[in-house]
Amino acid sequence: MEPRRAQEALVTPKQASTIEQLRASRERSPFLVVTAVLLFLVAAVAWMGPTFDLGDFASSRRADNLVRFLTVDAVPPVVRDAPSGEKLGAAFSWAAERLRSRYLAAAAATLAVAVVAAILAALFGAALAPFTARSIVGEASLPRRIVSRLSRFVCVLLRAIPEYMLAFLLGALLPSAAWACVLALAIHNGGILGRLYGETLENSDQRAAHAWFHSGAPRSTATVGALFPAVLPRFLTYFFYRLETCVRESTVLGMLGFVSLGHWIVQARAAGHYDDMLLAFAMGAFIVLTADLASWFARRAVRDAS
């Protein structure tokens, strides 16, 4: 402690005053404070409005509904009626029958829509990428920057429209609800991937592409031939990331009509068959988790390979 005290003693009043002056004149941004205050105000207003009611949680009627849902509605009649020792077997055979007759085909349709949509989105994004990149193979002229800004704006517009709304609109135009959902997902995710792929291109090592260009190759050849192979692992990583989202979204979009898990969830809820609805939910969660896991493995494999 002694040496420290000695050091503190070395700080003269003049030095302390200088430090204080430097501290007082430091650059300060009101951004954090203003943001925190605004967030607090918005949360307070939202909480005090008519949307939320704390009484919802405390209402005994709600609690009764929940208990009835879990003990009666969510349990299939064949399980309820089965003798106590055979309830599990009855539950398994009920679920197996439902999976065979409805939900496996619905899960396959959900996956098919997601995969086709993700592939279309990746192709669309890759086609947009050379335009959304701010500079490519040394080209950063004014027309290039204008094209880049315009195409980025298009990407922002495409991803700003929620997939559900887009699918709803396309559903009115196309004869097939499945294709409406595929296109809605492809357009929305294509906008996201167009921007991400463009940023990947502009941040990539472009020396080889420059060399191709400076040996007389057209810029498009240098971009597609030298840049795309180099960024392919990153492109694939983003593709699998969006595939995960597409699987999740296609489950929800089934509520618009094509025979996916979402469709059966809506049907079961409308008929008051909450046991069926819960099984469809579980199947949906299973395929989303499986897709997440597969995507995680694929991304890791791509990363390791590159």
Partner: protein, 271 residues
């Protein structure tokens, strides 16, 4: 699955001989900073020239000027042969210090990229990704010439630095260049391999009659292999040595080299 190569591609060949250059008062600035200052220089077709000088002397800028990837802000650059801008690019081979190869492609494809200047977009991509049998054979001959024929189908990023260097040389060679420009081609090699590479470049340029301009840090290597050695410092030529009848470079005296590489500022130079 392996694709059967097409057999019908006819590969155009170059007119022989190198291209000469004439620089008159050429000045190049980057963001206001002078990289080359009022440079007057004549390079004969087929000349073998080494550029030496300290870092930041303007060697790379001069190479870029000759390659057509940089333009003089003032002064004039002329070249013989009456070529269009694109023809000039397509017959200028440039070997980069960092090789500038596409790492995930095979050696074959990286070398095939040397002739992209002769094709349009789609034909160029086809020539790289779906080459004809003749093209593959021509690339193999080129790789064999630089001593790595067996690496034809290897992925480029699996090769050592020295092997990648030879792939870069093969790419420039496959281009059938009339000018071969090399930016510090031996910067990352040991002395023995450096001599091999410089000797190879000289042989290849002599065989094709191409003009060879190479930047080097090692003045002994330059004096040993090149007929003409030009010393650049702060964007100006401070030394221009031609080999005499005895095969020596008398202008490369210790005093001249000290003036070129020394830390003392020259007259008119910002220290």
């Amino acid at each position: 699955m392996t694709r059967e190569p097409r057999k019908t591609d006819s590969e155009p060949s170059r007119p022989p001989g190198g291209i000469g250059f004439g620089l008159q008062g050429a000045t190049v600035r980057f963001s206001g900073k002078v990289a080359l200052e009022s440079l007057d220089l004549q390079l004969e077709p087929g000349a073998k020239v080494a550029l030496i000088g300290p870092s930041g002397a303007g060697k790379t800028t001069l190479l870029r000027l000759l390659a057509g990837t940089a333009e003089p802000n003032e002064g004039d650059l002329r070249f013989t042969g009456g070529l269009s801008a694109r023809d000039r690019l397509s017959c200028t081979g440039f070997i980069h210090q960092d090789h500038a190869l596409v790492p995930v492609l095979r050696v074959l494809q990286n070398v095939l990229a040397g002739r992209l200047g002769r094709y349009g977009s789609l034909q160029g991509l086809r020539s790289v990704y779906f080459p004809s049998r003749e093209s593959i054979e021509a690339v193999h001959r080129t790789l064999t010439r630089v001593g790595i024929g067996e690496l034809l189908y290897q992925r480029t990023d699996r090769l050592s630095g020295g092997e990648q260097q030879r792939v870069a040389i093969a790419r420039a060679l496959y281009q059938e260049p009339r000018v071969l420009l090399c930016d510090e081609p031996v910067a990352s090699l040991d002395p023995s391999r450096s001599r091999d590479v410089v000797q190879l470049l000289i042989e290849l340029a002599t065989e094709s009659g191409a003009t060879l301009v190479t930047s080097l840090h090692d003045e002994r290597l330059a004096a040993q292999f090149f007929d003409r050695v030009i010393g650049l410092r702060s964007g100006r030529v401070v030394l221009d040595s031609t080999r005499d009848s005895a095969g020596e470079h008398p202008a490369l005296s210790p005093a001249a080299l000290e003036a070129l590489f020394g830390l003392d500022a020259l007259p008119g130079e910002t220290p």
